[in-house]
Symmetry: C2
Subunit: 434 residues, 2 copies
């Protein structure tokens, strides 16, 4: 029988090297994709609607004759919502309410202060005017992602949220449309791929140009987002999903095995790792994996993900587990221990932390409140979950009083002359009163 999941031990001499190999992931730098995306973007920039329509006909096999046919009216979103089962509608509304409530705490306010000489300094916070939300179509169409991308923008005060979602062969996902209704999306176009990113970035006669594009997508969408970065803002470029679990052996091993599955079922490249000081518990989790795997509808994806990229790692103790976790800087970190809060204080790098045995990562994916769009591939070392702050920006406020200009002017002039910037110096000196 082939290996279910590799087992490592942090006391092994070559553990650091093994861990590095385990974590190694380079997104393929596919020249063919880059070239195709460049061509599509240039074409959309030049021909607008006509180009978007043609690519949509070709790639999504949608026989529309005009861009107008590719826009979904608000009534269709509402109808999708009304058509849900009571259970689904209630669940979606509960999730939306909790996500909204958490994100409202992230909202930042403008501030300013006045100095003794009357000079006022501050920071003005404003929402972006108009943003684009990319929602994948087909098998990875997730209503939860609609909520997680649109609600922070809504809470930030963004006036127009333009959603794009491809509908291959014209098949729409009612849950996705219902989520757009709940989240308060302004307009929805059934377009996708690089052509949708181009339409949002450059604008067409039908699709208004946005200031920022967020949301996950395939390799073409990622390449297109990277390409239009600078003209518009983008969120992160997402890699495969990751879960890292620290467990003290007091959680039911079936729970831990299933938590590992819940990441592995996303994608064969997803990564699920357990850190535990107890060898008997690691064996119990391994046995549970073997027992539960055959019952999973996505067993094959899980099997490949665990075999190729998963690991059960025996560590010396929970402190060492925290050190390793800081090195891995995982997207999702479950600390399934009795003293979870204490251990969490030692964690510097993680997208989201799930503390205690009851905080399964799936609760965070849907309805705990915090965002499920999180930094992957060790980028939690320098980046953050998607949030309201991604849809607000700051402007510095500098209101120098006549008195303030006297002291600041001399400092500025001295430094400006030192840099050889005489107009800077002179501009400050004009405000000096002799």
């Amino acid at each position: 029988m082939p290996m279910l999941i590799r087992k490592l031990n942090s006391t092994q001499a070559d553990f650091a090297e093994q861990l590095k190999t385990l974590l190694a992931y380079e997104a393929e730098d596919d020249t063919r994709i880059e070239n195709a995306v460049t061509e599509i973007l240039v074409d959309v920039k030049k021909r607008g609607d006509a180009a978007v329509l043609e690519y949509t006909q070709r790639f999504d096999r949608v026989p529309a004759h005009s861009m107008a046919q590719l826009e979904l009216p608000a009534s269709e979103l509402k109808a999708a919502f009304d058509g849900l089962s009571t259970e689904q509608r209630t669940a979606l509304e509960a999730a939306a309410a909790r996500v909204r409530s958490y994100h409202e705490k992230q909202k930042q306010d403008s501030w300013q202060y006045t100095e003794a000489d009357g000079t006022v300094l501050g920071q003005k916070i404003t929402p972006l005017d108009r943003v684009g939300i990319y929602v994948p179509g087909g098998k990875a169409a997730y209503p939860s992602s609609v909520l997680m991308n649109a609600m922070p923008a809504k809470v930030a005060g963004v006036q127009e949220i333009i959603m794009v979602v491809p509908t291959p062969d014209g098949v729409k996902n009612p849950l996705v449309l219902a989520a757009a209704h709940i989240a308060g999306v302004t307009r929805v176009f059934t377009i996708g791929g690089a052509q949708a990113v181009g339409a949002l970035a450059y604008g067409t006669a039908t699709v208004p140009p946005v200031d920022k594009i967020v949301g996950p997508g395939n390799a073409y969408v990622a390449a297109a987002k990277r390409r239009v970065f600078g003209l518009v803002g983008i969120d992160m470029i997402a890699g495969p999903s990751e879960i890292l679990i620290i467990c003290d052996a007091h959680t039911n091993p079936d729970w831990i095995a299933m938590d590992l599955f819940s990441q592995a079922e996303h994608d064969e490249m997803a990564q699920a790792i357990l850190l535990c000081p107890d060898v008997a518990f690691i064996e119990a989790v391994e046995a549970s994996i073997a027992k539960q795997l055959p019952t999973m509808p996505r067993a094959e994806t899980i099997r490949t993900s665990l075999a190729d990229r998963g690991a059960l790692i025996q560590v010396r103790d929970l402190d060492e587990a925290c050190e390793i976790a800081n090195n891995i800087a995982a997207e999702h970190l479950e600390i399934s221990t009795q003293n979870a809060t204490e251990l969490a204080a030692k964690i510097r790098h993680a997208g989201a932390m799930f503390l205690g045995p009851y905080s399964s990562e799936s609760l965070g994916d849907y309805c705990a409140g915090p965002n499920h769009v999180l930094p992957t591939m060790r980028t939690a070392r320098f980046s953050s979950p998607l949030g309201v702050y991604d849809f607000q920006k700051r402007s510095s406020i500098i209101h120098v009083s006549p008195a303030g200009a006297q002291t600041l002017g001399k400092v500025a002039a001295t430094l400006a002359y030192g840099e050889g910037l005489q107009a800077h110096a002179q501009s400050a000196e004009w405000r000096l009163k002799n």
Copy 2:
């Protein structure tokens, strides 16, 4: 005599088109630069110190035999500081103190809250571990930029700040070294270009790998930063500097002309624009430009910048000026009017706002307090000044209580089944107590 600066009028039928042409700027997409940068990065990744040393010998003509020779000891930074004139030292210290004080107000704190069922949600804020600061060498070596890039990192709590600054022909700038001393930079290497960006991103035997690289640079540096984005964080890709002035004709026209110069003297591609409802004042500014220009050491740069990219624009009124300013989303916006605070309330998009006749942009460049690293090329629509927030990141905290897992688990399971993610559903259901 050739045109000093173009004059436009917002009532002209083709004004929108003219403004668009005026603002148009596309950074050249130079394949030669891209290829050179790719080659250098690959080489630095593979050969580390040896590659960095060779490129530094070749491009900067620095005859060092080892990387150790390219590191400046702390004592050399201190000596540079001690060697400054009293006036320069005092000015630099005053600027540093004000920049520190303003940025301390940007620092964000962790927060959390407990729900009725005992579930705790929150956001943990942590500084980045180690950052790299790129400081240009040669003619554009600005000590003020050292302060503006390093101090927010310091305030954020970053433990290690690694500065790189090329020293072509071995020439060091004492003001830059003194600024590094004041700002509390951890280590300084006299390397630059794509090789310095590569060393910071990948790490070498001598240069430690960083989590984020900030700071301005030439086209090679910009291309290299864009290329390593994802492996490390980067700040914005900066375009030419811009100033937009709204004036009600009550400020001395000599001041306004000099404020326009202070941007134009940076670079022939810099952009300086005046919006004013008063035609007589516009003529007075034009006359002042003609009068003051010959006295400027950088007259040729200013002349080219104003002629190629500058404009004096007559607007209908100050409200229209604000609308145009929101469209331009300038890096620096001076509102040199009597009712500046009132007008500032109408501005949604600007990197920094300088209010009232005494707030010359140059005061903000050096010592007012707010950062001078600001979004250019209309990116103030979606991005912010460099700040403490660029050196902090967030981790979501989710600590679900046993009771919370009952309500959240049902919602999550319903939505997970709707998305076809059975392991997600099962993982939530494991926590349900029957």
